[in-house]
């Protein structure tokens, strides 16, 4: 028994990702897309038509990460003229920051000038978040849970999920906001003391994603608050979420 125990410890070793700020996800991961300047008008048209959520639009040709389900069908249909890099830094504090234009190939950044002063001074050292799943499919929720696990250990930065909105500094919303959750979400938001932040985690939360036009959603909440952080992904990778929050709160 004791030998088994020691062996487990040994083989478990150290699991944490040492530097979350510099961590790289291996090639093949579907991260930030790049649209080649060489894409032909015919290929643009194909990509626009194929896109299941209307994330790709023309005039000018661009890809909206807030609508993208990362299915990569546009990549296969354009022979890689639209390709998905392994860059996991996708979070932006401005909705427009999620638009990818032709030829652009630079990491998406938080615009520090748009971050409220109180956010960095109050939440720059510790941040408590209340998560609300509003029609989420449980993959974004699992990835948010993974942010706190032995591998990603978001707690090392003093960032944690808490049970009560009264103990929270902000809300993390997953899912396209089902009509049946709209009221509960509003009540939860109201219960968080100010100043507070709102984070939309996952494509479904940002735009509704594949559920966008469903009559069973009530997304009016998004119009009444100004989200502080958009974290795209289907679901967002833990590194995307953690780095987004660290950038927003001005951490090194």
């Amino acid at each position: 028994m004791a030998l088994n125990f020691i062996s487990i410890f040994r083989r478990h070793g150290r699991q944490y990702v040492k530097d979350l700020r510099k961590a790289v996800i291996p090639e093949g991961f579907r991260g930030r897309p790049v649209i080649s300047m060489e894409i032909t008008p015919a290929e643009e048209k194909v990509a626009e038509m194929l896109c299941p959520t209307g994330a790709i639009t023309s005039g000018p040709f661009r890809l909206d990460l807030g609508k993208c389900e990362f299915c990569m069908e546009c990549c296969f249909a354009t022979a890689g003229k639209i390709r998905f890099t392994n860059d996991h830094r996708l979070a932006a504090n401005l909705r427009e920051g999620l638009l990818i234009r032709k030829g652009e190939d630079k990491t998406i950044r938080i615009n520090p000038e748009l971050v409220g002063k109180e956010i960095r001074s109050f939440f720059g050292h510790a941040l408590r978040l209340r998560q609300v799943s509003a029609g989420g499919d449980n993959s974004a929720e699992l990835e948010l849970n993974a942010c706190g696990n032995v591998n990603f250990d978001m707690g090392r930065y003093g960032i944690e999920f808490v049970a009560s909105p009264r103990h929270a500094d902000g809300l993390v919303i997953t899912g396209p906001i089902s009509g049946n959750m709209a009221e509960a979400l509003q009540i939860c938001y109201d219960a968080v003391p100010t100043p507070k932040i709102v984070i939309l985690a996952g494509t479904a939360a940002i735009s509704g994603g594949i559920f966008e036009n469903s009559p069973d959603l009530i997304r009016s909440f998004i119009g009444t608050v100004k989200p502080d952080l958009y974290v795209p992904g289907n679901p967002p990778h833990p590194l995307t979420f953690i780095n987004g929050v660290l950038d927003l709160t001005g951490r090194k």
Partner: protein, 550 residues
Amino acid sequence: MTLFHHFTISPFMVTSNPFVVPLADVPVLAYPEFVNKIKELTADERCHCVTYHAVPLGAVLKFFCCIASDHNHGLILLSHEQQATPPPSLESLTLHHPSFHMYEREISEQWGVQFEGHPWMKPVRSHFMDAGCGMQDAGCGMQDAGCGMQDAGCGMQDAGCGMQDAGYRMQDLASCVPYPFYSIEGEGIHEVGVGPIHAGVIEPGYFRFCCKGEKVLHLEIQLGFQHKGIEKLFIVKRSGIQRAVLAESIAGDTAVGHSIAHVQLMEALAGIRPSETLQAERIIALEMERIAVHIGDTAALCTDIAYQFGQVVNEALRTIVINTTQSWCGNRFGKGLIRTGGSHYPLTRELADLYLANLKEVEERYNQITREIFTNPSVLSRFEGIGKVSAHQAGLIGAVGMAARSSGVKRDIRSSHPFQAFSKINYEPVTLHQGDVWARAMLRKLEVEKSLQLIRDLIRGTDFQNNHTAPQYDYTLPVSSFALSLAEGWRGEIMHSAVTDEEGNILHYKVKDPSFHNWMALALAVRNQEISDFPLCNKSYNLSYCGNDL
């Protein structure tokens, strides 16, 4: 199926999964005859209903019911037709077999059909919060909802599944605001309400406990908060890519399971035959999903009994598994991997080698940690005898998948109705009879072992260099047909079914997640348990909210 020897009308029987049948060939029975046939079929404990739903076809409402046999490959399809307006009033099947209670509640909610004598007619996923009466302030109104609720209380513990005694019928949805929870009155009885938002990073649902002291007398689970109209979207979204993305968003933790049920349904309708390589790849992905969730659940069960060592070791192992899936298709949940007619991600030799190496590592370490977990007396004292559900109860509620197998009901689509590569594998399901938290934890360990071996066999026995095809999205569907497909996800049986119209468009799409029945198992498991055991019982089932709510 000898049961049918005295039928006046020849039933539609198949042994293939998925199957397609022209609507004209589905036998239509008069309702009394339909009820009799269902009674006969479900009298055999080894048969269960995989779907019972209604489809509007012009002026009629056509009810499809599919019964599956657990011991041979049989699937029987029956139907009856009623005038759509005014909504018909029918004798309830729930009176004959309680597993029909969810189906009839759903049909009533969707089409306004009345089921005479249904003991528990309440909404499944309606907008019961619309009337400005949220769950939060609904509490006070609960006692008033009345309608015989108070009487129901005492009979609850004896009722096997508690439905016969309740004596309440919902006339229309408006009478369910505020939602009429059961209430029990008496000295020392109190209620505990939880939800819809829970204390963790999990999905929303509402639980109301009736307790005496610490003991739970009854738990009522009300879901529907995640409802986003997925079935309707399958009709609206016309492109194959949209449907594929939709299928993997039904339940993100079962992205592969639901996607397989969807693509094999579309392929059966469109007459596309997946290559053997593709079938093997799909099952490898499916079993990887099962391994990942089962190991994650082993970690979560340890969390709920404050056994941190078991938690962190299993968490790390789950990460290895889902990262292996990511190196195959770029997504940790296998999203984007399962597509109609082909795949964008051929399993190369290098990937197969990576799989074998990582799985060997995971297997050794999982064996070590589970040896530790299942021999630790303080773990066993928290697992054993907690949250028991008997085989009889599991049968009555129509439990499927893990919830059934951990209670001694041998029900596994991988062996009873083999799909994809399973048609070439003689899969023998794992069944445990204890029905407690221990059985559900142990079942995970045993299923992980089986799935690991299955993946290894598939990798070694398949030629992955050949026959790779790209996905096909421009498939055409046959006119006026009914199709049904089953797959065994990690939770259990997943059912997708579609009906096409005269032009070959999808007229109706139906999804059934295993959680649809299994939530009732959780409600039964916590009866007479300490309320503090609820999180443990809940985690031992790990049911889907979004899969139930659609």
